[in-house]
Symmetry: C2
Subunit: 234 residues, 2 copies
């Protein structure tokens, strides 16, 4: 237990217990250096951490204050589906159902379109439709993605990216329902993720994927603690 964490923990406990309420002022840095008999840099690091976690707000000349609104935030970690399923002790399988080349103006040029199903054991688990920009990832043109899902391959072949996620609920269409082995109209969780590669100041589309999960087979579960610690469920 470092001194920084001790200071941070003490203040966090006083906030959580209600002893310090939103709007209350936290002791000045120089006061805390006396309390803990340490250097100001150590106190500052502890308070910086608290501010980063959203527990306090810091204002020059005025001091540091307990933050007012607790912005409810969930951190969702969406790893490889394969890892998710194998972590549960189930067998994972990817079955490609479609592969074609096409043009997609939204993706800035020629694309590779892949469709397939992720299986959990013998049950369809997720229907995936993926577009890969060939101008951004030329190597993808040589891949069949017949046995390997595009997601894992892309993780190892594309450098850092920016992403945008949209999560919504949709009713399964007839072809979707057939692929997933459910009745048409079943409520499904749809996760759409677009990914860009940051090239200097312009962002180049890399891939766009829509994953459709039958509602009764998938929950996104995220545990959130204000201190930025994250747990993942599924």
């Amino acid at each position: 237990m470092t001194l920084e964490k001790r200071i941070r923990g003490d203040i966090e406990a006083r906030i959580r217990s209600g002893e310090l309420k939103p709007g209350d002022r936290i002791p000045f840095e120089h006061e805390l250096t006396v309390t803990y008999a340490c250097a100001r840099a150590t106190v500052s690091k502890a308070l910086t951490g608290l501010a980063r976690a959203g527990l306090i707000e810091r204002r020059r000349k005025a001091g540091s204050f307990v933050a007012h609104r607790h912005v409810q935030t969930a951190v969702l970690e969406v790893p490889d589906l394969e890892k998710l399923i194998t972590a549960r002790g189930e067998t994972y399988r990817w079955q490609r159902t479609h592969r074609s080349l096409a043009a997609e103006p939204d993706m800035g040029g020629p694309i590779l379109r892949i469709e397939g199903v992720h299986y959990c054991g013998d049950d369809p688990f997720c229907l995936e439709t993926r577009l890969i920009s060939l101008s951004s990832v030329p190597a993808a043109a040589h891949e069949t993605f017949a046995t390997q899902a595009p997601g894992g391959w892309l993780l190892t072949h594309v450098p850092w990216t920016r992403a945008r996620h949209a999560i919504s609920a949709r009713a399964a269409t007839h072809p979707q329902a057939r692929a997933l082995g459910v009745t048409p109209g079943t409520a499904c969780l749809a996760i759409e993720r677009r990914t860009w590669r940051v090239m200097g100041r312009i962002d180049v589309p890399v891939t766009r994927v829509c994953q459709l999960f039958p509602g009764d087979r998938y929950d996104l579960v995220a545990e959130f603690n204000p201190g930025m610690q994250v747990d993942l469920g599924g």
Copy 2:
């Protein structure tokens, strides 16, 4: 632009551009102090920030390395629905439909149960079922929640908490569909959030809410940059 941010930005750019690939070693701290002609603490702060953002991994004696797997993470910020709607220029309204006292073993004692509908303009937008632990929040017993939604009230009356979110897709039941003005079976996005108050080492349940959004009226959109910067859409 501080020196710390400049160092951090430089390294981040080299990673994003692909010049530094996963597994590559980043210059040692003492090397960076020479490069930037600064103190080691400044370099350390920059690298600590990169490690916190998940871009690099640091190992004693070995050095700092570009992180291997890019864990795809979405940060979803779920603020007050009222703010979400008013931010769009629509009028917000909360209509309570039910209020009762009951016992819920899962919540550790007596609870207040509130049900109601959030409106966006004249259209039902979200059906909310909320349980509030009265042993944790005794003051809630005196509130009617007839005109104010419980969410906003709780934000100002309950100290810091731990939360767990589950997001799934469900078909609207008949009563749910009636309340939301949709046809039964409509695919809906269900967000369930349980909140605990951390009391020392035990967590006391505070509230549990299930919000049901018609799938065609709501998307959760989260923009994610590896550097922890978050944008919110809706």
